[in-house]
Amino acid sequence: MSTIQVEVQGLSKNFFDQARGEVNAVSEVDFVCRSGEIFGLLGANGAGKTTTLRMISTVLQPSDGTARVLGHDVVREPVEVRRNLGFYSASTALYPRLTARETLTLFARVNKYPAESTKDRVEEMIERFGLSEYAGARIEKLSTGMKQKVSIARTVVHDPPVLIFDEPTVGLDVLNALDLQKGIQELRDEGKTILFSTHIMSEAERLCDRIAIIDKGRIRACDGLEGLRAATSHHYLEDIFVHYVTGNDTPA
């Protein structure tokens, strides 16, 4: 029986900018994610995906509304939230002068993974992500694909129940991107709750159990692919997306 792991209610975020004034980056967003599912946030650049995920990861403070991870409120219990969370995005880089093994050890310790089992856990991650050969090499010497594997290992090293992947395939070639998607599916199959944001339709189609279409900071639709197809009578996600975002259907 899947349980609700992430709960977002009326979440809003306003930014203030000298040029644009007050900007509603995210407005009254509601959704829940359950264990063992990949929940996709699908939206164009600037739609509010990253801002939403950063609020859930406690890096940004909501202007309004609440978000809870395993029942912990992001404003009141940020440390508990982050302990149960692995956050991966294009902007979460690694320390170039650490080796892969040191990187994993550092993040296991910082995320308060039990001290006595840290060493075993790190070796397990090295084994699992095929890093054995490079575990002693500095991150700066690794290829993009290898760095990305270390990054995912870094995200899950403390065994968090909830994982956030914010546009993880940006800048990756096809093979690396597919590899990463496979890894994410495996994590889902292990029972992790996965929040996944993307602007690539095929990725969302292939990966997500449920999809929330987000535009100008608001959720326009939220359902499984079949449900979205039934509601819009479109087959392709691209058409469904355009339907919700523009309010018009693309000419056949």
């Binding site: 203030f16 890096v59 302990r83 969370l85 979460t92 880089a93 320390y95 002068r97 910082v110 403390h158």
Partner: protein, 672 residues
Amino acid sequence: MNPRTVSALVTNDLRQLARNPRLLVFAVALPLVMWPLMWYLTSLTTERRQERLESRTYLYAVAENPASADGATWLDRALARVGDDGRNGDDGRNGDADPEAGPAVLFERVAPPDDLPAALDDGRLHVHLAWEPVTEDGGAPRAVLTYRADLDASGTAEGYLRRALRSTRVEVREQRLAAAGFEADPADLLPVERIETASEEQTSGLLLGRILTAIIVLMMLTGGSIVATDALAGEKERGTLETLLTTAARRIEIVTAKNLSILSVALITSILNIANIVLWMQLDVIPAPEGLKLVIPVGTGLLLLFLYAPAAVLLSSALLLVSGRSKTYKEAQLLFAPVMLGALAIAAIPVLPGIALRSAIVVVPIANLGVAAREILTGTYDWPLLAAAWTVTAGAAALLARASVRTLSAEKLITASDTDAADLAGGPALFPRRVAGWFAVLWALLLVWQLNSGGGIDGRLLITINLSILGAAAWLMIARYRLPLRETLSLKPPPAAAWLGVLIAAPAGLVLANGVVRLASLAMPIPEEWLEAMADAFGADLPLWQMLFFFAVLPGIFEEIAFRGVLLHGLRARLNPVPLVLIAGIAFGFFHVDLFRIPPTSLLGVFLVIAVLRTGSIYPAMAWHALHNALALSGARIEQIGLTEEPTWWHYALALAAILLAFRLMSRPKVS
């Protein structure tokens, strides 16, 4: 705070640094070589220059005129003693050359040139002498030396010749005195002898104490900035900051770890640098400053270490704050320069003569520890002031550390958005965030003034403080932030009972304020001169109405507008009642930059803040303040209002009860 997390983060920082060979070479190894090398080269070139100047032949010419015949004998005598000066004693009278002094200086006469400036310019001539005719009977001709100060040889030649002529003149004068019948040796007239009672440790301590703080600050900052730039600005630029911020590490753990990294690198580089210089001094490669003893007793050393600890935390927090506020590595490096200059300026204060810890300097972070260190090293310190200095700097360090924790929570770190609601709205919304800065600048101005005015107060000074500084600043803040006047200054009628409250509170407050003075004097005995200065100020020779106007009415209006109006309004938006009352009250005390007036005026400040908060109006506070000062004046002399009489504990208990009753009377009726 989890020590495991902190140690993991510190290890990470240090590991990053240790694996950056270029940074290690430029920031750690190179200074180790450069410092002593620079020192060595400086002393070497000075030595060489001296040698060169002493061994060369200087060219001089004498103008041909009728007076030169008179001057010729003078010149011969002077030339015979050229170069003796300075090595044969202070008075320059002794003609016996010191055989140890090195080769004699050679002067060679050349023909006077047609074009003097050109000859000086191209070195054909170093100094030109012209004799002006004797003006009075028995007088000597006047010597006029022409030279070029910017040319080494010319400047030196002039110096030798001038000193030689002067000592010749002294000698001749004495001969003439003797010839005129003056029997005693003129040198025996009013002889002055000096006896110095400072021990070697004290002399050396003063020397070391003056420069120690500046050296430590310089080394802490140069060493600390190696890590500090990378600490937040570097993480931001690399993209590792968001990785770190999304982990389970608390912000305080991250800041603590960063501070520890900065401190440990600063400490290691400082120790390396100092040990390095001491080593070269011991090896006599570089000269140690004269009179400086490098041995500090263990106890003193430990005390100094304890003393400097909060200064180190303060500096590392400042560096971290700069790093956190910068968007890029480059910006952080740019911002370090003003921090460095500011800190060095403050650390140089102990060099100034006459500044003792028992003054307003005790409330200036870092500078107070510098003065304290100097006093420790000369053995003239007292514990209460030492504790006060330490506490002030530790408090400032805690505030800065808190600010850097807040920087880590700032969303500007992560997002492109560079403002928030208050920034954008500006005006009144922004004021609560700026008010502390405004008052800090005001306070610094007052402090500088106090340190330069030699203490003491008089009517004029008070008027200037009240009207020009406080009034103008309050007006500026109200205008700049478009603050609503009525609300900012609490210009509302108070409940009628509040006036009765004021009548009770003012005398009771004065008794309690005097109690605080007595309490504080247990720790910091008030010097007699201070009491006399205060009595002079308050007993000034002015008509009573003027006294009341200057010392009671004006402060009652302008200090209230500034402190219970503008300052309180700004702080109110961000503080809970208890910290608000304490901070706004004590800030008022600190503005009476005189050390001994801070405790009682802080208490008065606390009372007046409570009065405004309870009545919702500034008027009772104005009346209370004016009445308080008037009552204090009415004794005319400060000793008569409690310091010479001995109030007992029940006086104070009664006063406290009266104050509580007054506050009760001041409460605003609840609006139902």
